[in-house]
Structures are given as structure tokens and as C-alpha cells.
């Protein structure tokens, strides 16, 4: 059997005495779309930061197609084919939408080909009409798409999306779900999201994080019925 696309072995991140992420064993197949849910502080974003070289794990390892990348630099991991859309949109605020996308696309392409790809990407993320506006002036939802466009332009094999639907209107959420499904036709994704409606629009397999560990991993319909999952999400309300 071929190596899975992504695998973590006992992956842990400890900040002082706090075990933000503890012994995560996670496997993702080629072309898979996985949703990651869990309450705030469950370690989802820390997990993403370790996968992308922004944090060096305390111990354990990350294997991407069998290669250990747990100590690689962020830019090396990006070049291997893992792209991330961070929780707070991380874009080039001072540059125009077009310049943003161009910067990402020009790592792999040059000249006329880049310009063509940039135009295609602007259409795809639906921002062609604001292509020459500075990204800093755009609404939150649009900046989310700019970031998505940036990541897609580097043609990654695996996309990590940290709350891609946060701060979006109902209509925008639908559009984003559609885009995620379209991306999944050719690429693998891991999506962190709180919006259960969004999850049910896109998910097949769901992994639930709680207090730095994997609580349960199952198909989406089972997860939504799982009393344990309901408890950790509604626990506070039940106490109140």
C-alpha cells in the first residue's frame, strides 16, 4: 500500500506545562476531504501550525507522502505542496488583489502564463471586479477569498483551511462550500470549522479534537448524532 498523503505520529506541542496538542496520530488519504471540529482551545490551530512549519513540535513527527517534515522550514513545506489559509486572513494588505494573486502564482510560473493564471483565479474566486483595489480595503469575507486564491495559486497537493467560512454571510458560506467541493475534485483538504451547517454541506469524514487529543473520528452523520460530541460543544450551556 502506498504511503498516505499525510500522517502524524504522536505529534505533541507543549507550552511549558500546557499540553496544547498531545500525541496526535492522524492519517489523511490522497484526495480526501476531512473536517476538523472541536471547541476553542482544542488544539486545532496549533495542529495546523505544526503541519506547516510555523511551530516546531515538542515531539512526534509529521510525514508528508512518507517524508518527515516536522523540522522543515515553513517555506520548504509550502514548496512540497502544503498550503494553508490561516484563521485570521493573512494577506498582503497594501497590495491590490491582482498583485496578491500574482505574487503567489509567480513562484511557479512566469511571464504571460502567470498573467493568464491570475485572471483565471480572479474569476474563480469571484473578485475580478475588485482586482485593482487594495486588499486591506475589502470586506472580511472577500479577504478570506483572496487568501484562498493565494493558496490555490501555489497549486498545493494538500490545503489546510482554518475557519474558511468565519465572518461570512449566509450566501457567502454557500459559495465557499461550493468552492471547497470543487477544490476537492483535484486536491486533498483539511477544514477546521465551527459552523455545523457548513460542515454538513461539505463533510464526509470528521475528526473531533478536544483538549489536545482526538476524541472521535467518524462519518459526519454519526458525529452529528454522537452524544459525546454534543456534550463537549454544549457542555457550557448544560452547566449554565
Amino acid at each position: 500500500m502506498a504511503a498516505p498523503l499525510l500522517q502524524t505520529r504522536d505529534l505533541s506541542m507543549h507550552f511549558g506545562g500546557v499540553k496544547a496538542v498531545n500525541n496526535i496520530n492522524f492519517t489523511l488519504a490522497e484526495g480526501e476531504l476531512r473536517c476538523l471540529i472541536g471547541p476553542n482551545g482544542a488544539g486545532k490551530s496549533t495542529f495546523f501550525k505544526m503541519l506547516t512549519g510555523q511551530l516546531e513540535p515538542s515531539h512526534g513527527e509529521v510525514l508528508f507522502r512518507g517524508h518527515d517534515i516536522s523540522r522543515a522550514h515553513a517555506h520548504q513545506i509550502a514548496r512540497l505542496g502544503i498550503g494553508i489559509k490561516t484563521q485570521v486572513p493573512s494577506v498582503f494588505d497594501g497590495l491590490s488583489v491582482r498583485e496578491n494573486i500574482h505574487l503567489a502564482a509567480s513562484r511557479l510560473h512566469s511571464g504571460e502564463r502567470t498573467r493568464q493564471l491570475v485572471d483565471e483565479m480572479l474569476e474563480r474566486i469571484g473578485l475580478a471586479h475588485v482586482a485593482d483595489r487594495a486588499v486591506g480595503q475589502l470586506a472580511h469575507g472577500q479577504r478570506q477569498w483572496v487568501e484562498l486564491g493565494l493558496v490555490l495559486s501555489t497549486d498545493p497537493q494538500l490545503l489546510l483551511l482554518d475557519e474558511p467560512a468565519a465572518g461570512m454571510t449566509h450566501e457567502e458560506v454557500h459559495k465557499t462550500a461550493e468552492l471547497v467541493r470543487e477544490i476537492n475534485r483535484s486536491k486533498a483538504l483539511i477544514v477546521v470549522e465551527h459552523d455545523m451547517q457548513f460542515i454538513s454541506m461539505i463533510a464526509k469524514q470528521v475528526t473531533v479534537f478536544n483538549r489536545g487529543s482526538i476524541l472521535v473520528e467518524d462519518a459526519v452523520e454519526n458525529i452529528l448524532r454522537n452524544p459525546l460530541v454534543r456534550d463537549i460543544y454544549l457542555g457550557k450551556q448544560a452547566l449554565a
Binding site: 515553513a74 517555506h75 509550502a78 514548496r79 493573512s90 498582503f92 500574482h102 509567480s106
Partner: protein, 355 residues
């Protein structure tokens, strides 16, 4: 009119004004004016070096004077030892660039944060100042060149035509050389900024983490930018040592370092023409204020106006508080908003005309 065509108009305008200035000045102006203008041109190259690394690279270097001074001293020392200026000129570029590479390597690969970067570069400059300042004795010499400590090195031989020792460049020649160098530096940097390298450099300034997550190694780009800035400053230093035939440790001083930053702040970060204008304007102003020095007793106001550092300080504070983006970006903003308003008015009129 799109941003690209506006850009092109700007480039052509700078080219025409620059060439006219280059060829007409020596024909129209007195020699002492030409001499003054020469040093403005040299300092403008120095301003461009910081405009690149701070304005576009986002690296706040308080020690650009270190590379400038190294260039000047390298040229002087090499000249006394070699006597023919081709190699000294190259050394005055290569040595500061190599020093920038070494310093930059430790700063960028050591992931030193921005604030400490400023502190380190300033400290390096002051260390150089103190070291060179205390080399007054005859025992301090490199080959035939005496370092001279706080007295500096006088009588530096002038540049000559490449590989032709018997054809030194005269004062007017220095004006042509400095002005042409400034123009070449300006257009060269414009080319650099229009390249893929330049785009990534600006991207890193805007959001280093994002650039990294897209697969660009910020350390490489910052280091390369820093080296180019160091080489340019060294080259300006070489021209400066030629201009006065003299170099002293004040070239490494706090005042010199601060001055370069002031030029960039006043002219505007994120532009190239801004720091050039800022540099020339501020120098002209200091010269004008200095010439105003009252002889004997005079009233309070003329004393205040004759105090150049005071006036320049007030100008700096005024700019930081009132025009924080600097002269050129602010003017560009005003022009852009006027243009938008005119377009809006025209659009507002046209439906009525159609009726």
C-alpha cells in the same frame, strides 16, 4: 488612466528632467554651484540605498552610514596603496557589500526582530566611529595609508578613467559621474522592483509569514536586499571621498546616520523619487540656513533661523506628526483623490447629456 501608464509617465518625466539636469547644469551654473550639486547627487545615491532596504525591504537600518563610511575609507586606503582607481572603486563597493552580507546573515538567519535590527545596525556604526576615531597615532596604518584617527585622511587621490592613471576626473567630471550614477541607480532600482525579486521583497515587507507560507524564504530575500543596499551606500561613500578628497570618522557618526533616515521619512517610504527629493531638499535647506549665519549680535529670530539643526528637527517632527507618509506618497494620494473626483463628476454629467 491606469496605474501602469501613470508609472510610465513618471519614469519618462524623471528621465527627461534627469538628463536635462545632467547636461545643462555645468553649462549654466558657476563651478561652486556645480560642486555643491555634486555632493547632493552623491548623498541622493545614499538616500536611495536606504529607500530600497527600508522603504521596500522593510528593514529599518539605522546604520546605513556604516556602509557609506566603509566605502569612503576603503577607497581612500586602497588609493594610497594602489594609486590607480579602478580596483579601489570596486573594492569600495565589494567590501561594504561583503560586510552587509556578514552582518545581514547573522541578523536575518538569527531571526532578529525589527527593533533589535535597528539597535544592532546603529551600534555597529558607532563601534566603527569609535574604532576609527582612535587611530590617530602613526602606528595605525594600512600599507601606505595612515588612518589618521579623528583627523581623518586628507588628500585622497581622485578617481581616474578606468586603467588610465594619467587621466584623472576633474570637478566637472565628478558632477557628470555622480549625476549619471544617480540616474543609473534610480532606473536600476526601478528595474529591480519591477522584477519577480522586487515583488517578493515588497510581499515580505507587507506580510512576512504569508510570503513564507507561499514558499518564499524571507531570509534569502532580506539578505540580498541588504547586500544591494550596502553596495550602493559603499559606492556613494567612494564618490564622497572623491568629492572632498577627504574622509573623517564623522562619516560614521550619529548625525550622519540620522540624516539618511530623515531624508527617507521626509521624502516618503515606499517610493524612490521621494527620498531623492527629501535628500536634496534637506541638504539645500541646511546649506541655506548655514549661509544665513549672523555675524556679531543680531535679534533672536535671525539667531533661531541660523540654527540649522533646530530648524531641521522641527521639520522632522512636523513631518512625522502631520505628513507621516512623507512628501511624495501624500502628494500622490491628493492627486489620486482629485482624479477620482473629476472622474465621478464626469460620470455624473454624462447621463444628463445623453437625455
Amino acid at each position: 488612466m491606469s496605474r501602469r501608464s501613470l508609472n510610465l509617465v513618471g519614469l519618462v518625466a524623471v528621465g527627461i528632467v534627469g538628463l536635462a539636469f545632467l547636461f545643462l547644469t555645468p553649462r549654466l551654473a558657476e563651478l561652486d554651484t556645480v560642486l555643491d550639486l555634486t555632493v547632493y547627487m552623491i548623498m541622493a545615491i545614499l538616500a536611495l540605498s536606504l529607500a530600497l532596504i527600508w522603504g521596500y525591504g522593510g528593514i529599518l537600518c539605522f546604520g546605513q552610514a556604516a556602509f557609506f563610511g566603509l566605502g569612503a575609507y576603503t577607497y581612500a586606503i586602497a588609493m594610497f596603496n594602489i594609486g590607480e582607481s579602478t580596483l579601489p572603486l570596486l573594492l569600495a563597493i565589494i567590501l561594504p557589500a561583503a560586510f552587509a552580507a556578514l552582518l545581514g546573515y547573522f541578523m536575518f538567519y538569527g531571526r532578529i526582530s525589527d527593533v533589535y535590527l535597528g539597535v544592532i545596525t546603529l551600534t555597529v556604526t558607532l563601534i566603527l566611529f569609535n574604532s576609527v576615531n582612535s587611530t590617530a597615532g602613526p602606528e595605525f596604518h594600512i600599507g601606505a595609508a595612515r588612518l589618521g584617527g579623528f583627523n581623518g585622511i586628507p588628500g585622497i587621490p581622485p578617481l581616474n578613467w578606468p586603467f588610465n592613471k594619467s587621466a584623472p576626473i576633474d570637478l566637472e567630471g565628478m558632477f557628470y559621474l555622480s549625476t549619471a550614477s544617480l540616474l543609473l541607480t534610480y532606473f536600476g532600482l526601478r528595474l529591480l522592483l519591477a522584477s519577480q525579486f522586487g515583488h517578493v521583497m515588497v510581499g515580505i515587507r507587507e506580510n512576512e509569514r504569508r510570503a513564507e507560507l507561499l514558499g518564499y524564504d524571507p531570509r534569502v530575500y532580506k539578505l540580498a536586499t541588504f547586500i544591494v543596499g550596502g553596495a550602493l551606500a559603499g559606492f556613494a561613500g567612494c564618490l564622497f571621498a572623491n568629492w572632498g578628497n577627504f574622509v573623517s570618522p564623522t562619516i560614521f557618526g550619529l548625525a550622519q546616520s540620522a540624516q539618511i533616515i530623515i531624508w527617507v521619512i521626509v521624502g516618503g517610504r515606499g517610493t524612490l523619487i521621494g527620498p531623492v527629493i527629501g535628500c536634496i531638499g534637506m541638504q539645500w535647506l541646511s546649506a541655506a540656513l548655514g549661509a544665513n549665519q549672523p555675524s556679531g549680535s543680531s535679534d533672536l529670530w535671525s539667531k533661531i533661523f541660523a540654527n540649522a539643526p533646530l530648524i531641521l528637527g522641527i521639520i522632522l517632527i512636523a513631518f512625522v506628526l502631520l505628513v507621516p507618509k512623507g512628501l511624495v506618497p501624500t502628494l500622490a494620494d491628493i492627486a489620486a483623490s482629485l482624479l477620482r473626483r473629476r472622474q465621478r463628476e464626469r460620470r455624473g454629467l454624462s447621463p444628463q447629456q445623453a437625455e
